[in-house]
């Protein structure tokens, strides 16, 4: 007999998750995105950067499934390669945001007093600027480029996670089981790690998937403005940007990257919802 949760086996998680359409669709879309990105690292239908001017602006065909752009590059190949870009940007940006924001928020809730004031006022300060505008400012200072845009997006994820973590943690610090943990002799750090964070994990995961989606959108926006990924590297936002001037001539150039962004964002949100239900033992009715 073990004190580990009996339901923690992957098989049982899956048995439960399978029942939720949102979770299955979200997982499938996310898995597809990752698979496409991985495949693009070793194989794309056409070389990503090679121009073929005579074959420019073709509609979808058997040779070019999603058509070609104004330089004759294969849209499908560029979408596949752009998926890598989107995944890296969102992973790193959410990583920066959650990696700094969650500890800051937990610290603020655990310590209260002036530490909380400093953290939260800094938060408010960061929040006071529209995130995308600030990202534009940061990339303007650091110079355009994929890495700088990732950092800029990441920095503006920090207050989102800090505020969410502090809010969730504050209400938990008032609960009896936290008092019970203090009665049991645990310090604030231990309580934060063992009691507070597991109880807001669901909240954080949902927020992470939302921020994933927002990071992809933000990267697309920055690239659209020419501050993100630099040509000729493929990015969904960049592709949208380039399609803008050709909207009447070749609408498919805007439609496919737009669809890719939409489906990915939708998939991540569905996955987040499903994960939250799965990770909460009260919602996971296995017995």
């Amino acid at each position: 007999m073990s004190i580990e949760p009996a339901a923690a086996g992957w098989r049982e998680y899956w048995a439960h998750g399978r029942g939720s359409a949102a979770f299955v669709i979200g997982l499938a879309v996310t898995a597809l995105l990752v698979a496409v990105a991985l495949v693009s690292l070793v194989w794309t239908p056409y070389p990503v950067d090679v121009m073929d001017i005579p074959a420019k602006l073709q509609p979808p065909s058997a040779a070019h499934w999603l058509g070609t752009d104004q330089f004759g590059r294969d849209v499908l190949s560029r979408l596949m390669a752009g998926a890598v870009n989107s995944i890296v940007v969102s992973l790193v940006a959410v990583g920066i945001g959650a990696g700094l924001g969650v500890p800051l928020g937990a610290l603020a809730a655990a310590r209260r007093g002036w530490i909380e004031e400093v953290v939260m006022r800094f938060n408010d300060f960061t929040f006071a600027f529209p995130a995308l505008l600030s990202a534009v400012m940061i990339t303007a200072i650091l110079g355009p480029g994929a890495v700088n845009s990732i950092i800029a997006i990441g920095i503006f994820n920090v207050p989102v996670f800090a505020r969410l973590t502090r809010g969730g943690a504050l209400s938990l610090w008032k609960r009896d089981f936290v008092l019970a943990a203090r009665v049991a002799g645990k310090g604030r750090t231990r309580i934060s790690l063992e009691h507070i964070l597991p109880n807001i994990a669901g909240l954080l995961i949902v927020q992470m998937t939302i921020q994933f989606a927002l990071a992809i959108l933000a990267e697309a926006g920055l690239s659209y403005l020419g501050l993100g990924t630099q040509p000729p590297a493929p990015s969904w936002g960049k592709m949208l940007n380039e399609a803008q001037t050709l909207l009447y001539l070749a609408p498919q150039l805007a439609i496919f990257p737009g669809l890719a962004i939409m489906v990915t964002v939708l998939g991540l949100n569905l996955l987040g919802d499903g994960l939250r239900d799965l990770l909460d033992p009260r919602l996971r009715r296995l017995r």
Partner: protein, 328 residues
């Protein structure tokens, strides 16, 4: 020497309207293996006393006096020192078992974590001991797997888990703050019996906080009656019940349903105590109970009556205590 000695404990709470004295000059001793009941109505300072002993007063509260536990003054101890004592030598059972357990951790984990943390037991040893503890508090295997989550148990069962957590590290003192208030009547008796049993078995001292006189009568050797942050009567439980010298103690008994007498005859209503507990911001200079007391006289108003002895083990803070033995 006594295990726990509280001397002249006062607690003041900073409020926007000024400092409120929520505990005034509370003193008591509890011997190792002894049992002490703390009775009084809501807001009289029972729980604050428990939290003060635990060192878990709200941040705006300021405590003065001395709380000596196993020879150390807990009020003077830094937080890190308190953490080593809490859960190890001092344990506590809460009123509300529905919220006293972490909803996302298994009950086995929650019982075992104290063992791993305070006693440094390995995972397997802690698990084995957690299972024995659960068995001891009436949650036997395999019906009550340690892999269950709190929401899969009833209120009484959860309170048993809380007790198992409290007992885990063999504490010397167990504070039970209204341990049965949130439970239905049948679980109440079972939980109280369990508490008395495990306390006797492990030789641990029990500080039982309740508003229910019957619970005190059945489970404690000594008792303390508190009103508006002060101790108004103290003594051996048997003596206090025989005499009920303080008018407040009698009023409390008259207001409890079937504590000593049989069920109320139809049509008779339970007695209530007229008036309200004085606002801690504006306590009168005299006896705090004067405004509600049927025996109040002029000399009750100018100054707070000191405690006087009615016998070697019986004290009361009243100028005009009942002299006659309580007619039962």
């Amino acid at each position: 020497m006594s295990l726990l000695s509280v001397h002249g404990l006062s607690v003041t709470l900073e409020t926007p309207a000024g400092p409120a004295a929520i505990l005034q000059d509370v003193s008591f001793d509890l011997a190792a293996g002894g049992s002490l009941g703390l009775v009084g109505e809501s807001g009289c300072g029972k729980s604050i006393t428990a939290l003060a002993v635990m060192g878990l007063l709200p941040e705006r509260a300021q405590a003065t006096g001395a709380i000596v536990f196993e020879g150390r003054d807990l009020l003077a101890l830094p937080e890190a020192g308190l953490c080593k004592i809490r859960g190890r030598r001092l344990a506590m059972v809460f009123q509300e078992p529905m919220t006293a357990l972490n909803p996302v951790k298994t009950i086995g984990f929650q019982v075992a974590e104290g063992l791993r943390w305070h006693l440094g037991l390995g995972r397997a040893d802690a698990e084995a001991r957690a299972i024995r503890l659960l068995d001891r508090v009436g949650l036997p295997q395999p019906r009550f797997s340690p892999a269950l989550y709190p929401h899969q148990l009833s209120g009484g069962q959860r309170q048993r888990v809380v007790i198992a957590m409290a007992l885990a590290c063999d504490p010397a003192l167990l504070i039970a703050d209204e341990p049965t208030t949130a439970l239905d009547v049948t679980s109440q008796a079972a939980i109280l019996d369990l508490l008395a049993e495990v306390a006797a078995e492990a030789g641990l001292a029990l500080l039982l906080i309740t508003h229910d006189l019957a619970v005190v009568w059945q489970n404690t050797r000594e008792m303390l009656v508190m009103y508006a942050g002060r101790v108004v009567e103290r003594g051996l439980t048997r003596q206090v019940f025989e005499r009920m010298a303080h008018p407040y103690t009698r009023a409390l008994l008259a207001a409890s349903p079937g504590a000593l007498d049989a069920a109320l005859p139809p049509g008779r209503r339970l007695a209530t105590i007229p008036g309200l507990v004085p606002d801690p911001l504006h306590r009168p200079p005299g006896c705090v109970f004067a405004s509600r007391c049927p025996r109040m006289r002029d000399d009750c108003l100018p100054a707070q009556p000191g405690e006087r002895n009615l016998g070697p083990t019986h004290g009361v803070a009243c100028l005009h205590p009942h002299r006659e033995v309580m007619p039962v």
